[in-house]
Every structure is written in C-alpha cells, then in structure tokens.
Amino acid sequence: MKAIVDRQKCTVCGVCTDVCPFGAISLKETFIEISDECTLCGMCVDTCEFGALSLPEVGTGPAEDLASYKGVWVFAEWREGTIHQVSYELLSAGRKLADKRGVKLSAVLLGHRLDQSIQEELVSYGADVVYVVDHPELAHFRDEAYSKAVVELIRQKKPEILLAGATSMGRSFIPRVAALVKTGLTADCTELDISEEGLMLQTRPAFGGNIMATIVCPNRRPQMATVRPKVMRPEKMKDHQGRVERMALPEECFKSRVEVLQVIPEQDQTAKLTEADIIVSGGRGLRKSENFSIIEELAQLIKGAVGASRGAVEEGWIAPSHQVGQTGRTVAPTLYMAVGIAGAIQHVVGMQGSKVIVAVNKDPQAPIFDVATYGVVADLFEFMPAFIRKIKQERGESS
C-alpha cells in the first residue's frame, strides 16, 4: 500500500517530490511515481495544491453503527480529594464540541468517598450529566481498574467522543481504554474542532513540536484524545444545570493485578512544574551552584516554580525533577523565564507552549531568542539583581 495519486488532478508540478521524508516520490516526464519506500506518513497529502494526493482509507474494525454513539464525555481526573484543573479546561472545550453537535456533555468521575461539591463543580463548568463511580478499589489510581471501569461505562452509554487530560494519569490509562474498545486515540492535543459530519479534528505537535498534525478517527467510536493541560481555557457557566447519575459496575471491573505499596507526594512544592503558572528556569549560564539562588529568589518573589535546563541538572546544581525539556517535564505556564539557558531544541520542546517567554542571555545569537516573547540580551549577573530590585521597589511603592 502506498499514497494514491489522482493523475486527472496532478499537474506534475513536482512540489510533492521534495516533501516526502522518505524520497518515495519521483518526477517523471508526464507523471509522478510513488515507490515502495512510501511509509504512508501522510506528509505529502496536504502539500499538493491540486488535491491530487491521498492516502488509502484506514481500517474500519468490526462493523458497527457509528450513529448509535452520541454525546461528548470528559474524564474528570480526581486525585486525593481534588479535581485536576485540566478537567475543567476540557469541560469548557467539550461544551463547545457538544453544542456544535447538538448533544449532551457528560463528566465521568471515578474515585472513592467522592464529595458532593465536586459533582456540583463539574456541572458548573458545563456538564449536563455527571456519571459517578464510587468504589474503594478506585481510591488509588491503577491503570487496570480505572480503564476497565471507563470501558464498561463506554459500552453501556456509547459516547461519540471521550476527552482526558494528557497528564501522567491520562496518558497512562487512556491508551488501555482505547485498546480495549478498539478505537483510535490521539495523544497530547493542543487544538480540537469538529467537522460537519461529526469528525473530531485533533491537532497536536509531533517531532518534538517542530511539526503540527491534524488527526481524525473516521471509522471508530468513541473518538478519543488526550489534551495537554493549560491549553484550553476553563469557563464557568454560572446557572448551568446538570444531574448526577451513580453507576454501579460489576465487581469484576475493579480487579487489578497491581498492588500500590506507597504514594509519596512530591515534598518540594517548587518542583510541581507541570502545574505551575509561573516558572523561572536556570541553565549553565549561572556558572556555579550557589548562583542558583538568583533563580530561587525571583521565583519566590513572583510565586513561581523553579525549573532548569539539562545542563544545570548535569552540573548537579539542582535536582533532576526540575528539568524542563525532552527528557524532563513538558510545561506550559503563563510566564516562563529562561535565565542563562541557550535554548537547545531539547529544552525548547519542553517549554515552547508557554504563553509568555522571557529569555535572559548575553549571547544575542542564542537560539532561545527564537522562541522568546521578550529577549533580554544582557549579562544575567547584572540584569537579574536589578530586575529583582525593580519588582521589590514597585511593590514597596504600591503597598
């Protein structure tokens, strides 16, 4: 199988030949040819202005009536008594999809000793129905029990769309749900839309954020996606009404072969990078361990978390849990300050989703400036103390 060329439409312009990462397209005199090197990656399809390229259809799986699946679901991530912020973001995003489709929006809440106020909160962010499964075996997160419970709910209620946060929990158990219900799953989306026909257009970064791809799941339901936290905006709907439906599932759903021995919450609050709204990060430019105090001082002052480049972590100036980037955490705060960080792509992929990026670096050629909203070309040892003084001074005056 390979990409399909519609020779009627192809003008033999040759543009696509340069696009194929596998060199599978060759330009002949009167036509183009696709070789067996084609991996069906899809890269060429969108580059042909004439719509001459397409991929063969994806699989259909077992025959089923897709139209019998209705409604948008959001998995409400409950941990130790609280709901993860991303769930509210998803309810707001899901509300829009549901309205466009003219269907109901539901939240799925799993856990144990669930508080009434949580259900009300979910409704206030737009849920029409909250499906609640409360069971002792759901007190601690385990992939098996959580996925079996969600799969059972899907089998009973048949939603057309299921969204979950691309958190460590969502990215861990949602793939199991997709595998069990035999449907496609798009990871870590940053944009969602829906087509006339009800196909969810799921856009996500790939290749370390250098490329965006829009993905669909045409022939299976539910269409499932995990969505990156802090990308969608949570919107409270004051007088929204919804109802709660308690679901009793077969005992079999709660069985798990995994035994949770211990849960150790992160001691160091500043390391809670993924949830932070402000992050101040330091890199090799700080030169020595003691100088990390500059980063810590500013972070404390503006109530931010402390991040680091791999360089700083390798030097042993700060614990690995603070590392931002490809092999560390991916973050997307409102404000990200990179101080003395060169901006290698491996670092950038972990922070480029931030709303405002400030870079402080004395090398004007540093790649970090390519992604910085505000690039300060300065010696950090001069700039940072002055900037900290300025903030203190402003506060002194206004208070």
């Binding site: 098996e144 929990m169 199991r176 997709a178 595998a179 990871a187 799941c217 849960v263 505000y374 690039g375």
Partner: protein, 263 residues
Amino acid sequence: MHIAVCIKQVPDTKNVRIDPDTHTLVRQGVESIINPFDLFAVEAALKIKDETQATITVLTMGPPQADEALRDALSRGVDDAVLLSDRAFAGSDTWATSTTLAAAVRKMGDVDVVLCGKQAVDGDTAQVGPEMATFLDMPYATFVKKIEVLDGSALKISRQTDEGVEIWKLPTPCLLTVIKEVGEPRLPSLRHKMRAKKATIPVWGVADLGLAPENVGLSGSFTQVVRVFSPPRRTDRVLIQGPIEEQVEQLFRHLKESKVPGL
C-alpha cells in the same frame, strides 16, 4: 528471566522541520537515531541482567534500515534482536504498532518483562507501551524510574507522576515504560560491537506473526493524519537591548502589559 525491549528508530528531531517559505518538510541532514527513551529501556534491562540471570531480546518494527538500531543495542550488551519488517506494516498508528509488537512478544513465548521507553520523540504519543500491554493482557506501569526484581515472579517499581512518586508491586509477566532516571545508557563495548556486527538478525513479517493483513499497517489503524503543517511562529517577539536599567524598565513594562501573574 527473559526481557524484551522495544526500541524505535526515529529521525533526530532537532533537524526535522518545515521550511517556512516553501512549506515543505526539510529532510536534509536528518539522521536516524535510537529513540532516547528506548536507550534508557535498554539500560534498565542491562541493569537487571547485571544482577540476575537474564536474557535480553530487542525488537523493533520499522523499515529494513532499522536493523542498524538493533545492532547498536546488541553492541551495548543485549543478547538477541528481532526486526519486524513488512510492507504491510506501513502507515501503522499506535493501535496497529502495538498489535504488531504484541504479536512478536507472543511469538517469543517466554517473555517475563517487556520494557519500552516512556515515549518516542517523533510521534510523542506514549501510547504504544500501554496498548501493547493491553493486547498481551499484562499489568503495566508507566513513567518508571526504578526497578527491583523481588523474586522470579514479581517486580517492585517506583514511578514518577505529576504529583510525586508511587511504589507499586507487579506480578510478571508485565510491561514497564521507563524514564531517564533508570540510568544513563552505557556505551557500546568492543567485544559486543564485534558480536553485533556478525549477528544474524531474524526478520519477521505479517505471516510469521500470524497476523491478518487487515489488522496491521494502515488497514489496522484507526487514526489518520489529514494535515501536517508548521506551528505558527511567534510574531510578537521583542528583543530588549541597551543599558541594564533601561532593559529592566522595558521588561517590567512589557510584562505588566501582558498581564502576567506574579508581578
């Protein structure tokens, strides 16, 4: 103990980009490397082998060139390698990829532990491990940073979550996806390099795995890429130069105007 490690050959992501002018994918200078997280998985397996009697087999699904990645793993001390390669695998999404890998593990028969990287840096989905475990009906743990073999039939692992660390006990056979903290990958040794060069690596296709062609590759996939484009560039970039005091004033003003919290 038999450990299977799944590795993926990926383009070195730092070189993959779309040319902003021509809107085409730049492939110049894009080398293939072993997915960095999979090297951690190889290292985790070798660590277990250092302490217990273990045999390690690496698997990859990919084009014939993926053979290189397998030889690299062999040169680091892995015992055996298998290449899953067939035209029919082209266009696999994670569902089809994990179906194929799971079939290979099943064919190997006696696997006690399957190790994967946390995610592959090209697709970045982190779905293959969990989906594969599901098809193999194995318990699994993601984001694993430490592995301890308790006895022949159970593992104690630590996993890093957004909230902290969790310690789990899993019976074998099971699947783990690992992160950097399991250990820096060791370098190839001369002795193993020699062996890697000479090794014959079996190639398994659809028929060898007993899979139906409609369950692999694009036909076995449910997701489809419909559009690929470069991320919108930041158009609002401001470079702040000049004397320190002025820079401080400017940045402060900009941040106030952008209404960032904290100031």
